[in-house]
Every structure is written in C-alpha cells, then in structure tokens.
Amino acid sequence: MEHLGEYPLLLDHIIQSEISAELLLDDKVITCAKFDQKYAEHVDNRLEEEFPEHIIGCKELDEDDKIVTVTSRNTLTIRKCSDLDIESTIQCDYFATSICSLIHGDSVASCHVFFGSVIGDLIDWKPNKDKKPVMRKGHKGMIFSIVTDETRIFTISDDRTVRMWLISDREGGPICTVFGHTARPFAISIDTVHFTIYTGGIEQTLFCWKYDNDSIKLFQKIPLSFGVIRKITKIDNNLLAISSQNGDLLKIRINENPYVLEILKEDVVNFAHLKDRLVILTSKNELFVYDSGLMDRIVFRSKEMKHMASSEESVVAWKDKIMILISEGSVTRLTLSMNIISISVYMNYVTIKTIDGYIQVYDFYDPEHLRCLNRFRLKNAAMIPSVTSVAHRTLIIGTTHGEIYHSDLRNDTDKVLLSLTRQDSYEIFGGKEVTCIHPIPKTTMFMTLGKTGIWSTMRVTPEDTVKVMNSRSFSAASRVAWPSKFIEWKNGQELLIAGFYGTSLVIWNSTTGLPVSEIYCGGGHRIWQLNPSSSDEHSFNFDYIRETEYCRQKIDFTEKVSLISTAHSSTIFAASGSENYLVTVSLDGHLSIGTNKGNPILTMFVGENLLSTDVYENHGEKQSEVFVLTGGGKSKFSVFRFQPDDLKKYNVFWLRSVARPDEGRIVAVKTCRLQNQNYFIASYSSGVIEIFKISKDDNNLESTSRIEIEDSLGIGAKMDYCEKDGKLFVGTSGSYVLAYILKENGRLEEENKLKLSDRSGVTSIAISPDGSAHFVGCDSGHVYQCHATETTKIHSHLSTVVGIVVDKNDLVHSTSLDCVVLTSYEPSEFHLRKPTIIDMPNGMVRTGESTIIVVGDGIQIMKKF
C-alpha cells in the first residue's frame, strides 16, 4: 500500500471507506462509501451501484472467489468477485443498528462476523452455523471499531475503553479492559508483528498500546493536533495513515524509541554552533573553539570564562570585566571598566549590561575600530537585555521584563527609545521575557516571540517609532506554550517556530500553520540549538545541555507528513470570496486566507468559535489593500488588513480586534466602503449592529455608531453591502430584509423594511453585481428575489438555504442543507440542479470571475455552470 502515498485522494478514500486494501483488483478499486465522490470525481471510468443499506464491512474471501459485505442492519451478502452479482443474503437475528463490523475467515463456510452495535453489544455470528448470534456483553456504549490478530479481537467504544476478547471463547466476556481515553475514541488499528494497537478519536492524540496474552498497556501518546481522528490504517511496518473528520490525511512513522539521545561531550555548560565551528564552554570555565562539530581540532582556547551567550552568527563569553567575541572569522578580546552582568549578541552587535546599571551596545564589525553605539541607563535598573536584533538599520533590544527598545543606527546619538506603549507591551509580552526578535529581510518590519506565547509583527516607521502590526497566539491544540525561536527552513522559504510545551520541544511551521514535530527532551534544558542536518533538509539536530552533558537528538520531519490538509480541524462554518481570495473560518477558531482556488496563503488561530467572515479587496490607484473580517461566539471582532504582496512575500498583515462580551455572538460581519473610507460592520446576537472604522493613528478600531434592531424583527443574521449606492441590506431571523443607507459619519439610516411572506428567518443574502436586485435565502428553503417592496420566489429547496451567488451573467445559484445547488436566470421555471460533494454545506461563495466554491466539511470548487 506504500505506493498509494503518491495518490493521497485514493488513499484517503480507501481509508475512509470501510474497505480492505486487498480489494484493489487489477487496477480496479472497489469502494463502498456512500456518496463519497471525493475520489470518484477523479476517476475516468467508473461503475456505480447503489445499495439501499449502509455497508459497514467488506471482505474478499480468497478460497471461494467471493466478496462479502455486511450492513448496519446486520445482514451478510455474498457476491461474486467478478461482477458483484448477489448470490445470497443472510439476515442475522439481531435488530439493533450496528455501526462497525469485522469479518473473519477466508471462505463462506468459515466466515465469522462480529458486529458492534449502537447499544454496546458485540455480536458474534457464524452465518453458516448459528441460528442465533451470541451476544458478548461488556461495553456500555456504542462500539466504534473492531480489529483482530486472528486469535483475539479488540474493540473500542463510547465507554472510552479498549477491550480484548478471545475469538474462541464465545461465552466469555472481555479478557482485558483498559481505560485511557477521556473523550470518544473512534478508531483502532492493530500491528500484529509488534503486538501493538493504535487508537484515537476526539482527543486528537494517537494512543499506542502494547498487548500480550492477557493485558494491554499504554506505552506512548502522540499528540497530533490535526482534528478528530476517524480512521487509522497501517500502511507498512510502523507506518500509519490517519484520517481526520475534516478530511485531512496524515502519514506518520511510529518510532517506538523516539528518545534516542547522543551524549556528545560531558562537563559542558554552554555551546554554540557557528556554521562549521563549535564553541564549547566547560564546567571548568574553559572556552574551546573547534574547527568542526566533530571536535577534532581546537582552533582557539581560553581559560577563565564563566558565561556565554550566542546567536546564529556570533558568540560572546565573559567573566567579570573581560569578554571575548567570536564570530565566524575572528576572535576579539575586550576589557571593560566595569564588571559585566549580562550580554546578548546579534551578528556583530553586542548589548552589554554592566554592574553600574548602564547598557552599552558595541559594533564589532571592525575589531580594530571598535565602536560603542549607545550607552544608556533605564529607569528600571533590574531590567536585563534578553535579545538583540537589527531590522533595517534599527537596533532593537528585547528585555527580560517584556519591553522593547530601539535606536536608529544611522544617527550617532545615544538616543534609545522605548518602542511600545505600556499597554501594547503588556498585551504582547505580559511583563515576561522577550524570547526572539526576527527581522523580516528587505523591510523595516520584525517579528517577536515572548514567554506569554504571543507572536507579534511590528514595523519601524519613517518617524522612528515602532507600530504593532499584529499579534497572535497559538491555539490550545498547537501545544506551543513557550515559543522561543524563529528558524528559517528551506532557504528561508518557510519559517519554523521552535518552543516548549512541558517537557517537550515543539516545532511548528508558521507558514503552513501546522505542527511539525514534538519531541520529549525533559525539563529545564533551555540552552539549545536546532540546526538543519547537513545531509537532509528534512532532518534537524536538536542539541542541548542536560545538566552538564552536551546532547543531541535527531529530529526527522518526514516522520509525520500531511498528505491532505485544510487549516481547519473542524467543519468550515463560514466563507467569503472575492476576486483573488477565498477566506474560510471554523468553530475551532482557525482562519484561512487562500487564493481564489482555495490554496492557503495564511492560516492562523484567531479565537474560538468563529462564525462569520468577510473579505473585501480595494484596488486603489497606487496599491491594493485587502480587508478580512472575522467574528465569533465570544464576541471578538477582528479586522485584518494587508497588501497582497506583503502577505505573499512576508506573511505580513495588520490586525486589530475588539470584544463586546455583553452582546452575545457575532453572527455576521461586512466591510463597506464609502467615499474612500472603510467601515466594518458587526451584527451581534443581542440584536445590535455596530459600525467601526480604523482610527486616525492607524492603531485601533473605533466604534462610529450602533443601532439596535427592534425586538420583533429578530437579529441581523446576514448582511450584504451594495457599494454603488451605499446600501446595507440586513436579513433578520424574524424574516425581514432591512435596507440601511451608510452615511459619511459612519452611521446607518434605515431606508426600507421588507417583510418576507415566508415566516422563516433569513439565512443567506446576496446582491447582484450591478446592484439592481438582492436575493435572500430562508430557513424554509425558499430563495426570493427582492426589489424595493416586492419579492419573487425563484428557488425552492427542502432545507435551509446556506449560500447564494449571483454571477455577472445574472445567473443565480443557491445551495442548501439538501446538498444541492440550484441555478437559474432570474425568475424562471427552469432550474439546473447539481448535487454537492460536501455533505453538510455551510456556505457558498464566488471567487474570481466565476468560480463557485461550496464549503462545509471540506472545500468544493465547482466548475462554471
């Protein structure tokens, strides 16, 4: 099955379907997943047969050349292998619905079937021998999956247990029952060679258990942060394919001893790699510089050095007043007039705090003409510089107390400025240490990390001030509690963030928004470096000091590879489209800004329960600007602003949020542009609509006005804006369409109120491209075309309308929970009807000129009608 790795959709399909890999017959694949067209859409030749029952198991019986299928209604059907013709059907004498099965045996005569039922019964049935099946009791909740090692079976259930049963002892209960899962486990897989079973479910963690004749023991838990685990399939020796509820697919190599550690040298208190060179500070206060990591030849040594600090380009060691700076090609010794308290270093810049409380910054670029760039003293004498960096000729210093200072290197003054306001500093660093400052090449921007777990982007303005562009946190599922360093990967194309969570090193890919690796390293070791291995770009050497040992763990990124990935680990709840972008949000709090074909550009965690989003492109004369809004269950309203090039090249955007905890959920958001001013509108579940704009200093969102919708009209459930005449249309849960005029002072003035004949609430709204008509979809399934006071029913679905798109040819498309897209010209008897692949659509949007995208438990790009 290894070769299937190249065909992720096919692999996903086989894993999602309850089908064994053996059913790949001469280039033909037999699948039995109802409505699973994700794969089928890509197949040129296919034969579809629909069976009225829900198939939960399928097996090829080699000896008889037959295929048997079992269904949720506990029937067994025997078919010819050649053409799937039914030979016979046997009904098991058990009538509760089953949701999983296991077919054991290689012939019809020896066929032995196990069903796992919704009420927790394990049904043991020999179709050719038993009149009545044997009910094996033990589980207290529905059984989700069954596997076997030929003598025993293993089951996993809603009661959170894994149970082991003997196949031969049909009257006996489970021989072993173990707990471990704290939420529903859905999947179980077995590796009979290594006596290992793997389980997983809602916890998003892979549980690895060892079993023997009478016991099962948990030996490893691997957090995956990848959505609810639906199916685990063994592909090869120690290689698993794991699929998630939201359609993601992960290939993971299980390493039973992931903690292989090399001790490279003892009696070491600090170390640093400078390209090929290795600098070591021993516990005997000796400093060594080796010509390579092999430690064969010493190129420099010095006694009496007690402390050491390093960056990727340089190392500095010191004791009392003496310091030694080592860069790739030189060693410089300097004696100060005061004892040194601490030093941080970046390239040739060294920030020194001395015992008199002064901080001095030296430039070692030309050791012959050493320059002291700044000498200053801060109000808070306890503050120690923790990190130094330079962004486009501006020196930036981060401190242990969560403050940032900057100084323009082009001026020969000692002027050092506090970069952020007290409030900004506290929000980003919380009074804790700044752990990393990473300049963004070719820009005046830089990114910071702090011990609070906030990742922020800032910009140095031409006025020599620092502005916060955005700050973001990691979702709980990402498990980065203490992000520490940015690490460039693949020649700077991707940026990794390395940090710690408990006793593990966590590596997270900031470009894709996915966790890459998590490895146990014990606690308290915070002198470390992560260097790419010289032989392979996918492996890294994680070097660190453990007590006084200089150790190395190898990290292989190919151990965990995402084959299919959306940014969301739960169903996409809302989407918005524009000419060049598709934006999606999910309840797990993730936002994905992608191209108009759905390829992610930026994925990030915004906050829990995102319910609404909007994207707006403003093509100005000089430059384009894009605005993205999100809102959700905790009333946090966020506005993103970016220039397309900045986002693409540097991942840079501006972000501000406001929270209105008293207003309930944010159910709809919309960007409106009026006379070169952008207004951002949020509709809350309290019935209030609030309008915001960006403040003059570009630093905040300020509220310009708010209106409260009359109680009897319901709440503003959906909104759309017609830029041409400055009108905002609001569809309410009380079945009204309200039209407002947006005024220059950022206020809304009610213009019209239209009551729909339908008494159900408005669930989607869209304005035609020329602004002449607007369309509303309701919970009843009806879609209406509205002019000022008139409505005409144009589409009828049998379920809630979740999306309407009007294209430039005035074709109206609507979709609903029926999983069907209806298309017609304005009022017309004739409709085109096309089923969606998405099982539970939550929205339909248009991107580009005419691409229609349906979102829900995946993203479906529909071809132009």
């Binding site: 009225p52 589980h139 471990g180 899962h181 430690m295 309930g664 379920s799 809630t800």
Partner: protein, 331 residues
C-alpha cells in the same frame, strides 16, 4: 445536530428550566400545536422515544388537564419520572408487542396522534448519522402504522440533510398532507425540523409491519420541493427568538410583559445544561475526576524518562556509530 454549542444565553433553555419543563423541546411541540392545532380533540396520544419526557409533559398539560379521560402512552427504552395522566411503557418501538400493548391501553382503539422527538446519538460521521436518523424515523413510522387510526396525525423530528426528501416522498404515500414545521424555539442555525403528516390514509391493501427495513423510494434526484405541502414557521414572530442572546438577569422566566418586580426579585439564574444521568462513559468520567488518568499520564511520563535514560546508556557505551562519545570518554 445543532451546529453551535449551547449558549447559556439561549432563551428557551432558560425558560424551560425556569418553568419546570424537562427540556426546551417542550416549546417546540407547543408552538407546532399552536400553529396546526394538532392536539385539538385528541383523546388518545402516543409519545415515542419519550425520555426525558418534555413532550409527554405538554401532552399531559394540553390533553389530560383538559380532559381527564384522555389517554397518553409514552414509550422509551429508558425509564423516566412519572407525569400525571401519562402511562409509561418501557419498551422497544421496533417490537410488535409494544404496539399491541399501546392498543391494549387504549382498550382496543387506535391512537389519534403519534409524536416522536427521538434523535440518534450523534457520532459526527455524516453518512452514519443520517442513516441512523432515517432508521429511527422508519422504526417510528413502522410502529405508527400499527397504532395510528386512519385520519390520525404523525409528528416526528428530522435533521434535514442530503436525502431527507426521500422521507417526505415516502410519508406522502401514507398521509394526505405532509408539512415541514420549524418552531421558533428551534434554532435556524440547526438543521432540525419536524415533519408533520396529517390525515393517515394508507394505500389500499396496506398491511402494517415492523419488518420494513428500508424506504420504498430510493432515488432522491426526482423529488422536488413541491413534495411537501409547505414549510411552516411555528410560533409568534414577536415572541422569544432562539437566535438572540438575552441578558442573563432579565425577567425572562416569565411570560413576556407579565413579570412583576416581585417576580424579578425572586429570579435566579439556573444553569441550562443538563448532563446525561447515566452516560456510557460514566466510569471513565469518574476515573478522570478522581485523578486516575493524571496518575496514568504521570506514570507514562516516568516510563518515557526511564526509556530515554536507558537509551542514553546504550548510545553512550555501545554505539560504534558514534565515535565522539568513545573518544570524549577516553579523554
């Protein structure tokens, strides 16, 4: 199958708790009845999948309290607390015996109405959940065909999804009118709705059976929205809105506009979430609460450390592939 998590600001949860309804779904039945008058003149009613009993409470209030002769039978696999005027039948709705017992309770007569607010335990696997929901409705219809008199009505909860239209088409074969009802107390963001089938008139020669194992109509592509006689929003549009968040401290536990200062003073916010009484995971939950899992994790961590330590040993002393270690140690 609601899409968003329950909100403690949800007005109907709070109203239900304050007014002693066992679940907020009581309002759904009341609003449907207010619209269609389905309980008017009913003397015999059956409530399928009745636990925890909120719909039976409504039947008791609207039928038994009006007419002490009215008979109500509530069926569920689970026991539930007694409700005045409601005969509880602990049984399986897929069994003919259960159907016969219902008719016995009605002294040989058939029921005027059958209602079912049952829902399967949702797994999140759409195709499976959809299937289990269809199974449940099919089972409800099977027993209904045994116990419902011609001309009677049937009301059942459905989750609208890809193939719901098949179910409407199926019901249309047995009932003269099929409506889709959505009470205001059911959230618009939920795919929940109620299929209301009026005037039971089975085709000639129809024999009720419990053995019907699948819908007779299997092709959804030809079924259009006209199959139903209408989608009806039930409940007062100016009443409480299930989509809206109301402040926590308002006079919501009382009918709108009827609260007095005294009422408001004795208002006390109650948590709206009612956990299941005997969930399958009870034992696991107990273990979590008593710290068994924390200990298990600590033990796992200890073993990991132990394994890591023994691995160091192996790598430090026996690995030839690591020449630095040997050399460094010699030195």
């Amino acid at each position: 199958m609601g899409k968003t998590s329950r909100d403690k600001r949800d007005i109907y949860y709070r109203l239900a708790k304050e007014n002693k309804w066992r679940a907020r779904s009581a309002f759904k039945l009341m609003q449907i009845d207010d619209e269609f008058q389905i309980l008017k003149g009913v003397r015999r009613a059956v409530d399928l999948c009745a636990a925890p009993g909120s719909w039976s409470q409504v039947l008791s209030k609207r039928l038994f309290e009006e007419d002490k002769e009215a008979k109500i039978v509530a069926i569920d696999l689970q026991p539930m607390a007694p409700i005045p005027g409601v005969i509880q039948l602990q049984g399986d709705i897929t069994s003919v015996d259960t159907a016969n017992q219902v008719i016995e309770h009605f002294s040989g007569d058939k029921s005027d109405i059958v209602i079912c607010d049952g829902a399967p335990d949702v797994t999140g696997i759409h195709s499976l959940d959809e299937f289990m929901q269809a199974e449940l409705i099919l089972a409800a219809f099977n027993i209904t065909s045994h116990v419902l008199r011609p001309g009677g009505n049937f009301l059942a909860k459905i989750f609208r999804s890809r193939n719901s239209s098949l179910l409407y088409a199926q019901m249309k074969r047995y009932f003269k009118k099929v409506y889709l009802a959505k009470p205001r107390s059911s959230r618009q963001s939920s795919c929940e709705a109620f299929v209301l089938c009026l005037d039971y008139s089975p085709p000639e020669g129809f024999v009720p059976t419990m053995g019907r194992s699948s819908l007779e109509i299997t092709d959804a592509s030809g079924v259009t929205a006209e199959i139903i006689d209408g989608f009806v929003t039930c409940g007062d549009l100016s009443g409480w809105d299930s989509e809206k968040s109301y402040p926590l401290d308002i006079h919501v536990s009382f009918p709108r506009g009827e609260s007095t200062d005294e009422d408001r003073n004795r208002y006390e916010f109650k948590d709206v979430v009612q956990p299941p009484t005997d969930p399958a995971y009870k034992e696991a939950l107990e273990m979590k609460k008593t710290g068994v899992f924390s200990n298990m994790n600590a033990e796992l961590q200890r073993e990991v450390r132990k394994r890591a330590a023994s691995q160091d040993y192996i790598n430090s002393f026996s690995s030839k592939a690591n020449p630095f270690v040997a050399r460094n140690r010699k030195r």
